[in-house]
């Protein structure tokens, strides 16, 4: 039993962790929107669509913590908070876009596989 990649497990865990991080329900949607330029909170909320206030806050906080977005508060009234992608966030988009393209071109195959599987289960 040869292991060609001695660190495969750790690396794989790292990747798995990252995927879990950005693979939640909203992170990518938010990142994609911010990829088109900085946005304020409610603007982003409307653009993403269907996200609750709390989840947007949570998502943005986590993205900020991981260094993917910056949060800038302008102490005006009413308050104004701008969110913007960092360099890291913009760099992340590159491999994500690759995967995105794969996902889009292969979604049909996946859905077909699912249909096949589900109908063979029903039998």
């Amino acid at each position: 039993m040869k292991l060609r990649h001695p660190h495969a497990t750790e690396d794989c865990r790292a990747v798995s962790e990252i995927l879990q991080r950005i693979g939640d329900k909203w992170s990518l949607l938010v990142v994609r929107r911010l990829g088109q330029g900085p946005m304020r909170f409610n603007e982003l909320r409307a653009a993403v669509g269907g996200i609750s206030q709390k989840m947007l806050t949570t998502t943005l906080r986590t993205l900020e913590r991981d260094g993917f977005v910056t949060r800038t508060v302008y102490p005006t009234t009413p308050p104004r908070v701008d969110y913007e992608l960092t360099d890291l966030g913009r760099e992340l988009e590159i491999p994500v876009k690759e995967l995105a393209e794969w996902a889009i071109t292969n979604m049909g195959r996946i859905n077909e596989a699912r249909r096949r599987f589900d109908s063979s289960m029903a039998a």
Copy 2:
């Protein structure tokens, strides 16, 4: 406000869904292992390490449903079940590997950002 990518939202949801699918705790670990060749259930369980029986079953079922792995039962006694990557599964590895490399090379930056964020919160 120009939208250069009219279908960005749907596409993004597709990607987000895929990431959620393969971004769970075990899918990638399993796919990686199977990338080295077909394996039986308990063999895979030992190779992945730390995964419960139920989670391996669940993970494999979902991967099978999505058309990433095949499940072959040999009705011997004791039963023997082989799992193997499909073409789709092997193709998936390509963009995932890209993201994997990004994740590995940038993990340091992410962790650093987290440390910074956490310590600035503690203040």
